[in-house]
Assembly symmetry: D2
Homo-oligomer: 318 residues x 4
């Protein structure tokens, strides 16, 4: 065949398996979004770039529509890839944990990292109009992704703690900064100056004394980020399960948060969202027989302390 | 800082530079598209999966709208990344050549491969309605990507020859197959049986004797695939250049632009497409002083023989 | 400087760090030794290669001098590299475990694997005359090495179990094979035929019924392989410790030292061998103040079951 | 089989092929030799380490026995591995070029780099007594190794230029330094001070005006390093060839050098040295029929300019 004499070029594609029996952590970040959702949004616009966040009229310090779009895209990725057991999102980034034993695409790094990044991007663009019906995309947003292998459970605990601590630090800063600007009448330069060298308690104090804002009562979504966790569906008749997932928030400390997070344009937080693909539907049906169906639950709770993990003893087990 | 005790988890992200002074070839493929544009489209639907191509009503054996959408996305990627000097597309795949000396993202493989895959995906979804105004996307399409490093020019020549030979083989098969089905009244099973064991000349003969189709006179787009090549802009006054590029900006489907595409060697569209991003526009203006602006030209010509390469002696030089 | 225009060639040397916080397992094998010490020694000499083991007159099925030379070289490597906490040898191979937290050579794989392989080789050739005083080396023996990263303790347990099980299987086969040949008068072809399809208990039975050999009473060195483990030195006065280590310094073959090696669980040699290098001596003295000196103990005991590991609870802890 | 449940640990050994169709450059360096042969030998002994070069009584600034031992080990490696076409040595380092198309060990990096490092080390220790009959090795010397892949011929040219320029710079410094100490009566501290900030021409001037040393007339071995190159044996009757290789130096500018470099204890420079291994002998005989035998020639000539390469047009061709 004419083609065969060129086929040798395939040999330059080298194998890139991820080390077996390690946790793969897949993280993606908005590319050139300038951290558009909340963190760092307060940076001085020292360059001439027009930011994605400004072009598209994002609210400061947090735009709930943009965050919910991120959650929607992340949920779609988890629905498509059952080996993702946990995800965490803040601002324009999302992290996904694949279970230790996954053999997805034979653990080929490029295949996994590009496919997941692509699907997330695709969902982000496709679902954009649901969250920004009046703001058509002005140009194509993109994300970069990476996979990091972690040998041990403690690394995974610390990884998620690292991201949630980052969420806290950024959000406290941004919340105070924008209060100073929007309610306090400071310029952005003045607001940065006001915050220079302050500690957490100073920012809490500024928020409370000047603006009557109790930081700890702000929406947990902003303070804690978004956790998507795959949980086994409790054994209930299917119809009842549907009803429950639409109407009812999960029990526990985050109940309030969940209620607040629903808007007309977004999926509610504990649904088995409408499967994105026929294939997905098929798989889900097939799996109903073989093993308990799983729910993907959206939470905005603490994942640094032990409670979250103790309540899910099998989360890191496989 | 509270975050610092977790920061060590960053150390597990290992360096992944691509070997210096090699050509990087970035290829992406439609993920689970089932090769929806033309190649393999004739495969029996032996499984229950509903194909992207069927769900979205793609024409057989080639859907020009889908191919033009691929070209549009590829062109957008090239506009954003000046170090991409050549691209080749067929069906649901596209290959991009980065110049040998590129230092894009410090040649970090994951960063490059995910960012490019993401941007292409984003464009594909964003521009879909222009090409399929009556067919909204039913679910998010995705792509996988990879980067292959090639040490020598001859590998690059052979790589592109490999892809274009593949285009020819697939398109001849599919064209004959669908003629047998659509005009010859065969079932798909019968058509496969008719073609089993045939050589190229047999398929040419079937097309001509039964359906009066001269394969070599079919649109070169289908037979040769799409070549996007960056060429230096001829020296024209700036005002004129601007006017020209504005008048041809892709408001809707690029069909008009493509009219000239029916012979092998002629550029089918020499558009300075509207820059996708404000940032891009800025860069282009800045570069006007420093060096000649580049055009991205769409061709459907032979790239296996020497002519294409001899006419562009600097294409692989850097 | 004249040299600077060429210095760019250093950039092609890519980073190769081993994933942090994984156990590195370094294994080396005799290269083209044809498994000269015991395992596979019974293979038919189907090719014309003259084997190392034959050229140098190794005894069958095991040559204690050759095994002790391997142990000596391995011990020297452990003395030089304190981060090696455990080693296991059989036949012409040796495996070394580096502690999980090691930062040896910044965990650069090539640097570690070549340096350790080189030092072992150097010792093997240098100390050869002590074990084979009448058999000068006929040509330079060489070894190949590799490093395998393991994420979890259970992998390390299983790795060493894998090697010791291999030792057992090979030694039982070889012992029976050579009994049939040397005492039973069979040709090697006949002996292979006799053993084809036999299980372990069959080989035990052949040994006992035909040759009065109780396999389980053979030297544990052959049945269990060699374990070198770093253990903390019991608290003895320094002078006494020095005297002791001097008295047992390997002046010649270690045979005397090894005499006690005939039971499974007893340390066969607890030598503070004479440091190979002045540098080593210096380090050892310096470390006497900082932390307890370590002994490298040679054992021929079971490492598949839990006892060995339970008795050394800190072995895999760091 | 009992072993099978542990066999999974083999899966952690990841593939490590070197990119096809690149030149592999294998370099090894004396480990902790403190650059013992000539370069940097003049460094102040600021630490307490006893250097290999001092312990073993190496002459300053160059010890011809030590350099010849390096050459001997390198030659043995080249004899064993026909895909090595060129080598360059200076001081305690040696670089080996494998031909571009080599499929040695399926281009597995760890396998190649460890086996070559091990064989070199083995030869170094084994042949030590021939060069230092009165100086038994006091401790095991070791080397580290690495493989660097190079895409293009110009990289190889520049690599060897880089090493030979390094040889020149180091040797000129060391020669001047030791002249100041040994003949000029300076302390090493004074000699370093004398040389601080000097250029090449200053050092030439010091050597000539103070010590009547014409640097350019010193043994080319020290100034140019050692080149081992595989060349096709001219078509002469075998007996004659043997005679020639023993008695005759290669024609060209290096003739003088070659003559000077032979001592009783070392192989002459253009011999087909006695094959180190029976296997090697067999191979060489076999290859006599199939293709012209190759000679490994030792040179001390310039490899920075074009002449060396122009005279060997096929050296980098495969």
């Amino acid at each position: 065949m004419a083609n065969s004499k060129y086929g040798y070029v395939k040999n330059f594609e080298l194998p890139d398996p991820v080390l077996p029996d390690t946790f793969m952590l897949f993280r993606l970040d908005g590319h050139s979004f300038h951290r558009f959702l909340n963190s760092l949004a307060a940076l001085p616009r020292s360059d001439a770039n027009t930011r994605f966040t400004d072009v598209h009229g994002f609210e400061k310090p947090n735009d709930v529509r943009a965050l919910e779009l991120m959650d929607h895209a992340a949920r779609s990725v988890m629905e498509e890839y059952p080996d993702i057991v946990l995800a965490f999102g803040e601002s324009d980034e999302y992290s996904f944990l694949l279970k230790r034993s996954t053999s997805l695409y034979n653990r080929r790094e490029s295949k996994i990292v590009t496919t997941l990044t692509s699907l997330f991007t695709s969902c982000y663009v496709l679902y954009w109009p649901k969250y920004f019906p009046d703001k058509p995309l002005q140009y194509p947003p993109s994300f970069d992704g990476r996979i990091v292998p972690y040998p041990a459970e403690r690394h995974i605990r610390d990884y998620f703690a690292w991201r949630q601590a980052d969420t806290h630090i950024n959000n406290l800063y941004n919340t105070t900064f924008w209060a100073l600007v929007q309610q306090g009448g400071q310029t952005t330069t003045e607001a940065h100056a006001t915050l220079r060298g302050t500690f957490s308690k100073d920012k809490h104090e500024i928020l409370y004394s000047r603006f009557k804002i109790n930081y700890n009562q702000l929406d947990a979504r902003y303070r804690k980020g978004s956790i998507l966790v795959r949980e086994e569906e409790p054994e209930v008749p299917e119809a009842q399960s549907e009803a429950r997932s639409e109407g009812q928030a999960p029990e526990g400390p985050m109940t309030e948060t969940m209620t607040a997070s629903s808007t007309d344009a977004t999926p509610s937080s504990v649904v088995l969202t409408e499967p994105a693909q026929p294939k997905e539907k098929k798989n889900k049906k097939a799996s109903k027989k073989a093993k308990p169906a799983t729910l993907i639950v959206l939470l905005h709770c603490d994942i640094i302390k032990d409670d979250f993990w103790n309540e899910r003893p099998t989360l890191l087990a496989h």
